[in-house]
Symmetry: D2
Subunit: 370 residues, 4 copies
């Protein structure tokens, strides 16, 4: 690792190295540092070096559970802010040196799916998600961003790096759960799971105007953050069946909206059981195992309860990131509260990733400043 | 049965009998004729005598499968057009002698659920459905309609009775499947099941502007009707797995919208598999068995495919029925094609019901003219 | 006035007076105290005595501009919280002694317009608004509430009366502006006018997740409150044309959403000019004068800019009030900041009303505690 | 003109001429044939030669009213089907020889406006409209199409050219009026103006499930076509004020939805007057004159009637055209009925255009087969 940061000792404009190091999935169950060629930049693309990185639970799923299948020497990571190093000939709004937010989702905007309203699925289901899925991720000395003008956003100076890197995935994902949930002003909401995505779902529910927000979780550090972001009630599964606890809190009426932000496939069943007729279940969770997700027949009114069940990959792209920047700039939500551990130096992405695997009890989200 | 129609030999206005006969569920698995008091009419209500009746598959589920639990001597039936016999003191827009369409769903409009946008669930999940659910149904010499001004619609003279009785449930249910399905103009749709509800879902999909409509079914009489109502392709499960057949028809892309209008709990799984990312699955079916309805995890994008799953009891009430009258009056859809068997005389509701149980191959829907 | 409060010295249950006093519009341009019979209560209705009252600018329009036409001896006022004195035989959820929030809009829920989704227009355009429009208002010793179970909400003990009375109209109206405005999370919003409705529109825009909120106004007390409720930028018409100022702030791009909350008919023109293509103009204002409201042809893209223009009377009824109670109870918005002047005693409604007419510079909203 | 078609005597692949002729706006009020270089094709673009063309009323506005300002030697026309002659290096789904539908709206899909949901305004208000607006149109021997994979659709052999050319603008525009109009199944609709766009709005309203459709027009050829496409009532302004006539037809209740498809700025006022509270006014018209479009204050409920006023440039691009192809292929709507005059030979675009200017009484829409 000793040579790792040499590449950056000279300004990028002067010196263009040809190789770089990155922290990669070597195969299912194994990860480590690899050397790779620095990516070529097409006419619409950018090369970016990371300023701050964060590992995601889905990186853990990818490496240790083989959730997206086998991959060899694929650099991990999809949460980053960085600095533009090189741009393609057609890039207009960014130049080398610009500080940028890099969304986890970087779609091909020229696609039929975009015309149908879902950039997340441009080129096929979930294919707007490229980093550490079917191209090298951001845990390297450099990474490639397709369609820079459409997929990067300028990072204002007054937003700290460790807050800004929460926008790439955590904030857009949690907020999307709230967006899908059709929350009326003053409506009642439950958020199932209060890891970093769930906490941003709590914040998102508050942002959409929720009244009561029941957050389901048990770790003290997360409970404290949930209250900070707007939760009004905490339900802990150690205290009994969460469906019963929540129904009791609502006088057995059920909730306007339920956001799933963690847990296994049984969470869909629980979510439907606590939603009122005419309410909405929104999923912001990546379900990693099981052939089926069960909808409880009777609680779903034998198919006739008007309980919508929705779920979708978070929005990415530039316009989304710019609006999230405004959420932070205008003090609507402070994502910094998510960050419990900060490392310095790219070489620490490995440690940070392992934290996400081990989940010590004081962890919400680690960040690596590069 | 010989006295059955005596009550109607004198005009209703002159003679008010106190007892009536009706065809009832006696208990799970048993049905027969019962004598009951003629219902009292509250200030906002109406007493109606049937002019045309139709049995529904759900009557079969109710009696022979105990789908809604035990009931004793509950008169069956929720599809009717009739003539007003008596009105309460506060009824303004209807008077004895008026010919009316009676929706299957007759909500309490004074309820919080109406304020939340779902009259179907006024008073509790599915509780807008009263006839043959938790009050006597329409298969009697008379029946009671709550809140007549809100729940009846005038029946124009130029709509045949046997067509009009299709509005109460078949048309509003099938159309609601199409309404929930978010069909874009020119969009591709599959309708799973082409019994009477499925056929009205086909007609509804066409009404919302669908291009291609793939109908799944096998009985020739239904296939012919499906084409009449707008189906462009027929898929028969006898020819192999319907998921494979439909995906092949779409070049493996999946459909914009899928409407479930029949079948068991596995239909939800099949529906998700044939829907494109960003598309919609809409259920118009009453799922009668099974604890859970399975959502296929991978086909649902591990929770992130933006495939909305929806389903709801059909809209009832006056405004809905009046708009359906306009659909028929202006020749947008002819529901008469659904009716394959016509009986005369109330005493034949039993035969008509048994037809729904036995489903002979030339049957779509029987009607009893009274 | 000396006998005014005698009626309340004995508990309502013991003593039922037959006459009451109220502050009324005597005719266009004239108001004063009148004696009237205490209203009769029908089976679904309630008689309520006020605990807190607030005058509205529309009371001023009604009396002094004849905005809704001539009225004789009509008691004014539609913003109240109170205590139930008497209920009809069919009222289930309220009893004498209950403290209640009374919405300005108290629809007939049994109406076709409700079936079409707009309770505000039940019985005809704007006819959900009854108090001080076509029935006596709340500025009396007692007032009548139609359909108590549907139109009242319980007032929790921990919400101060002067805050609670802001829910009847100010909060539901301002929030409705934000609801109509299709605000995306992080979106940019302008609120034109920051009287009490505009301030609640600012709070509502924040509740829906707005990023930047540009508030247009000039009075210091309102500007301070606008910042308290979430405004990020203040534009003052004394500093030049507001369209130019706002466009400049947005880099000439226009806003996602614009809410009109005050001003004359030219506000619609200004609002369209500052909205981006694909954005929304939402009106929460009562336009009192002029034959037409002008839409600027070119700024509206010659009819093709996809700038939606919307506007509607605030939602009323019980479910709405209950959700607004939750907004306050869970500390999402504190309406108390609106109240700058508090009077004690019903006899002071006159003074409070005159304050709304004279608009001293330290006024946002006066309240009368009874 | 005698050499005009020489260029096409040899297959395009063999012979690439450098100059072409086109029918152009020479300046406001003047049009004529010009010689121009054949456009260069960028990596994502295509060069197309027309197979069928249609002039649009907006071409008339452009030339003779200067509606979009001055233009010099700009080739006119934006309605075409054609054959691909040349493609750029990055085009994947089209090749020389392919027959294609060319939408009037050919956006830059890589734009922030697309990310905000409105491709029509990519690059600025209305800027998705390029042909004969700010680049040469389709009335030439060749024309240039930006981003071919995103903006062209394959033309099936079984759709006649003269029908297919109606998809480019007339069908997508008329249908968009219906899409914006929020038509409920069985809902009542008025279409103001029954030129070709209005006729497609009638067809679109029927496609969305309208019951009654009141069409406003007077020319017999248009009235006959309106009935063909689904109009149930015809209102002629020669018979008196159309607002009064329409309100009378609806029993003074107003309509669910009103689509403006022609007329001057007063049409917005008329449209609002005939819409019920909670209904929608949708504009599909290009308003060419006047500073303002008037909204009638009282009929709009003083700003509170919940009558949405909407309007937008038609959707273009590939996915839209493909769905319209399905509308035609599956016999949902036959656009061929619009075409009353067919010319052969590019040289006749001039005659066809003049027909649109003179509007003889048997004209709906002329087509030029090339």
């Amino acid at each position: 690792m000793k040579n790792l940061r040499v590449l950056q000792e000279k300004p990028a404009a002067e010196f263009k190295p040809v190789q770089m190091q990155g922290f990669a999935m070597l195969g299912i169950g194994k990860c480590g540092w690899v050397k790779k060629s620095i990516p070529e930049v097409g006419p619409y693309d950018a090369l970016v070096r990371p300023l701050a990185l964060a590992p995601c639970t889905s990186d853990i799923h990818t490496v240790f559970e083989g959730a997206i299948g086998e991959r060899h020497n694929m650099i991990l990571g999809h949460e980053a802010v960085g600095q533009v190093v090189e741009i393609g000939s057609e890039v207009k709004d960014f130049k080398p040196g610009d500080r940028v937010i890099v969304p986890a989702i970087t779609p091909d905007w020229r696609s039929i799916e975009v015309q149908n309203g879902y950039h997340q699925h441009s080129g096929g289901m979930l294919s707007g998600w490229k980093f550490s899925n079917f191209k090298d991720g951001v845990f390297g000395e450099y990474f490639h961003v397709n369609d820079a003008d459409m997929n990067l956003a300028h990072l204002p100076d007054d937003i700290p790096l460790q807050s800004a890197v929460m926008l790439s995935d955590m904030m857009t994902t949690g907020f999307h759960g709230a967006e899908l949930a059709n929350i009326p002003i003053g409506g009642s909401v439950a958020v199932l799971g209060i890891g970093p995505v769930g906490l941003m779902a709590v914040a998102g529910a508050k942002l959409r105007g929720a009244g009561r927000i029941i957050a389901v979780g048990s770790r003290p550090v997360c409970i404290e953050a949930a209250k900070f972001y707007g939760a009004t009630d905490i339900v802990d599964y150690h205290d009994g069946d969460i469906v019963e606890q929540i129904l009791k809190l609502t006088g057995n009426k059920g909730l306007d909206s339920v956001i799933i932000a963690g847990g296994g496939s049984d969470m869909l069943e629980k979510a439907v059981r606590i939603t009122r007729p005419g309410g909405t279940v929104a999923n912001a969770n990546y379900f990693g195992t099981g052939d089926i997700l069960p909808v409880p027949r009777l609680a779903w009114g034998c198919g006739m309860a008007h309980i919508d069940i929705r779920g979708g990959l978070c929005p990415g792209g530039r316009a989304r990131m710019e609006r999230l920047v405004d959420v932070v700039r205008y003090n609507r939500v402070d994502p910094g509260k998510l960050v419990t551990h900060v490392f310095k130096g790219l070489e620490n992405v490995e440690k940070a990733l392992m934290l996400m695997k081990d989940k010590p009890k004081d962890l919400i989200k680690p960040v690596v400043l590069v």
